[in-house]
């Protein structure tokens, strides 16, 4: 019979906790999803000999007294695990032993059963510190294990230790009512233990100082950051074009094959035009998301992201944000949902709220499919100056528009939201390290999985609903059309287009038409606006469904179909003015149900998501209106 043991993983931020978690659990991990769950709970499983382990990775903490939302979550969880006498695996950054051990002693006094993992011993040795773990174990009365999670060393030994029951040992032994004086007491005791259990040797010069000279240079620093951003987006655009094409071709071939082999039946149509069209619309964006998180994970894992916060803090403060807002805002480039959740690390309520309110204006990856589709229709794929691809430049431009409006919105909200709370920026600057490729791989996998599963579910569901809405309509009208078609009054291609126009979806689009006409949109785009309220990328799937329903042959790509589209006068529908107006609309409108849900959960009020919905859609309407009226 297998035993099940629960392990709670805790430590300071940047102590290598997450890579230890990855080494322990491998691919057996799951993340609590955003909808419904208040705690972002990362857990994983592994087995050693005949014990099964469940590991819970808590957010990083410096002390038992929480200062921000996610620290509150971690402290609460620790309290519970102490009650259930689970093992607490405390990860120590050996290069900063004294500070790392403070929280450890506080947890010991919470009556937790603690096992300490000594991490980053290599950095400690570079700093001239040699640690004697046996002496530490003896002095603290709990086990200390050497590990190096970057190189997966000591993992087997750690697993063996985890199988054994850990001791519960008090550190101070009495509770001091004054928090700060109890911290000083702890440090005093930690210091005396450390002087007996560590040896100081010569310090090696570190690269960090050299890199920081450039990364935080008054001019070069910003130049480097900007260059990294541009390089990132150019690479995402060009690198992902190949796998994207393979996926498109693959789905095209599959649809073609199935439409030739399956019987002509209602279910076949549902499968091909509903499910498969929707699936293709999701999978096609996996390459972009993977590349994006590849870069973001490298920036975070190497320690560079902290420097970005540092050089931008003053600037961010002028618009009411915090240097730490850079991380959610950058994260917003991938997806506003995890980004908004990452704003929990900002302890100041007003700065956090502002960050949450403006983050969805950053160009998230869900906009990429819409942008790519529209840009490829209205902008020629030409290279200017020998280097810059016009389409890539247009894409970069949209990212910058997003950033500018984010700043403006923040400035405005900063004027209206009141606070009397103290804003803090005290934080550790970690040393630079080579990114841990395994961690980056895990991050990419996790994000892609979340996108495929969470967004995917919505997209496929909406694709099916949409297929239904666009294939069916009021019976009398449909019967009348059928009769006219059978009597030879209308041709086959005309028949499918008339069917769509008279379907339920067509009716919805037409109802919207008077409102969106000043923006240059027709009723087909109206349908897409409605469906993509669930998620922006649904726009592309909707277009695919609309056009594949209209055209029985699925061989040509959606882009070509849209480019060929003409209005009653024979003029092209997707002109530059219309395309540009659409791009602006998708840049600003709050077309994402999941974001609204997350903002509600994070702010615990419907007021903020409502304000967000109104202000974002308002900006979108205004910008699209001006752009279309000027350009047409």
């Amino acid at each position: 019979m297998n035993k099940l043991k629960k392990i709670v993983l805790i430590g300071n931020p940047n102590s290598g906790k997450t890579s230890l978690f990855n080494s322990l659990t491998g691919l057996n991990q799951s993340v609590g999803n955003y909808p419904g769950v208040t705690v972002d709970k990362k857990s994983g499983k592994f087995t050693h000999v005949n014990t099964s382990f469940e590991v819970i990775d808590l957010p990083g903490l410096y002390s038992i007294k929480p200062k921000s939302e996610d620290e509150k979550v971690a402290v609460q969880f620790l309290q519970e695990s102490s009650a259930q006498s689970d093992t607490v695996l405390y990860v120590v950054d050996a290069s900063n032993l004294k500070r790392s051990l403070l929280l450890c002693t506080q947890i010991m006094d919470k009556k937790c059963r603690v096992l300490v993992g000594l991490n980053m011993l290599d950095v400690a040795e570079d700093n001239g510190i040699i640690v004697d773990e046996d002496k530490l174990s003896e002095q603290f009365g709990i086990s200390f294990v050497r590990l190096n999670s970057r190189a997966s060393e000591g993992i087997e030994h750690l697993k063996k230790q985890l199988s054994q029951d850990q001791k519960e040992k008090e550190f101070l032994g009495f509770s001091n009512p004054n928090y700060t004086s109890s911290i000083l007491k702890r440090y005093e005791k930690i210091d005396s233990i450390l002087s007996a259990s560590t040896i100081k040797t010569a310090k090696k010069g570190t690269l960090t100082k050299v890199i920081d000279k450039y990364a935080m240079h008054p001019i070069l620093g910003y130049f480097i950051f900007l260059s990294i951003l541009i390089l990132m987006f150019q690479s995402i655009f060009s690198w992902s074009s190949y796998p994207t094409e393979w996926i498109e071709t693959g789905f095209g071939a599959l649809t073609h094959l199935l439409s030739n082999t399956l019987p002509n039946h209602f279910l076949t149509n549902l499968l091909l035009d509903g499910v498969l069209a929707g699936l293709a619309g999701i999978v096609v964006f996996v390459p972009q998301i993977a590349f994006l998180f590849f870069f973001i994970a490298i920036l975070e894992d190497s320690g560079y992201m902290t420097r970005v916060s540092f050089i931008l803090d003053k600037l961010m403060r002028q618009i009411g944000l915090n240097g730490r807002s850079v991380i959610p805002l950058m994260g917003g480039i991938a997806c506003a949902i995890p980004a908004i959740m990452s704003a929990r690390t900002i302890s100041n309520k007003k700065e956090r709220l502002l960050t949450i309110l403006v983050t969805p204006l950053m160009t998230c990856s869900a906009r990429i499919p819409v942008y790519i589709l529209i840009i490829s229709i209205i902008i020629p794929s030409e290279t200017i100056g020998g280097v810059f691809n016009l389409q890539g430049l247009a894409m970069t431009g949209l990212y910058f528009i997003g950033i500018i409006v984010t700043i403006l919105a923040s400035l405005v909200f900063n004027k209206f939201i009141e606070t009397d709370e103290h804003s803090s920026f005290i934080m550790d600057m970690p040393v630079y390290r080579m990114p841990r490729w395994k961690n980056i791989g895990f991050t990419i996998l996790e994000k892609v999985k979340v996108f495929l599963v969470d967004a995917g579910k919505i997209i496929v569901a909406i694709s099916i609903i949409l297929w239904g809405l666009s294939s069916y309509g009021p019976i009398e009208k449909f019967n009348e059309l059928k009769v006219r078609f059978e009597q030879g009054e209308i041709e086959s291609s005309q028949y499918s287009s008339l069917k769509l126009e008279n379907s339920y979806a067509g009716m919805m689009g037409k109802t919207l038409e008077p409102i969106i006409e000043p923006l240059g949109f027709n009723w087909k785009m109206g349908i897409a606006l409605v469906t993509s309220f669930a998620a922006r990328e649904v726009f592309v799937g909707t277009m695919a469904t609309i056009y594949s329903v209209e055209d029985e042959e699925n061989t040509t790509s959606i882009r070509e179909k849209m480019m060929r589209e003409t209005n009653a006068n024979g003029e092209k529908v997707y002109t530059f003015a219309v395309g540009f107006s659409l791009l602006l609309f998708y840049a600003f409108a709050m077309q994402c149900m999941s974001t609204i849900a997350v903002v509600y959960r994070e702010t615990k009020s419907w007021k903020w998501p409502a304000i967000q919905l109104v202000y974002m859609t308002g900006i979108a309407y205004l910008f699209s209106f001006i752009a279309f009226q000027l350009l047409r």
Partner: protein
């Protein structure tokens, strides 16, 4: 040996100082948790390009903080 009493925000880059105490409870708690205790020797390692925040080096590790926060930290310069 002359030692001048200052607050941390006024400390020049590259000058060593000894931490004397705190004038703000929030800053105190946070700094203590980060391992910055009265008596610690610290040095301004870097000032952000826009003049704020600053990075101080305390016993080998680097800590970023704003001048607003540094204002509440009393130090004496060591010559």
């Amino acid at each position: 040996m002359n030692s001048a009493a200052l607050t941390l925000d006024l400390l020049q880059k590259g000058t060593k100082a000894s931490l004397q105490g705190f004038e703000d409870e929030v800053v105190e708690e946070k700094m203590l948790e980060m391992g910055c205790l009265p008596g610690s020797i610290l040095e301004v390692e870097r000032i952000a390009p826009l003049g704020d925040p600053i990075i101080i080096n305390v016993s080998g590790s680097n800590l970023a903080l704003r001048k607003d926060e540094a204002r509440h930290i009393r130090i004496t310069v060591i010559h």
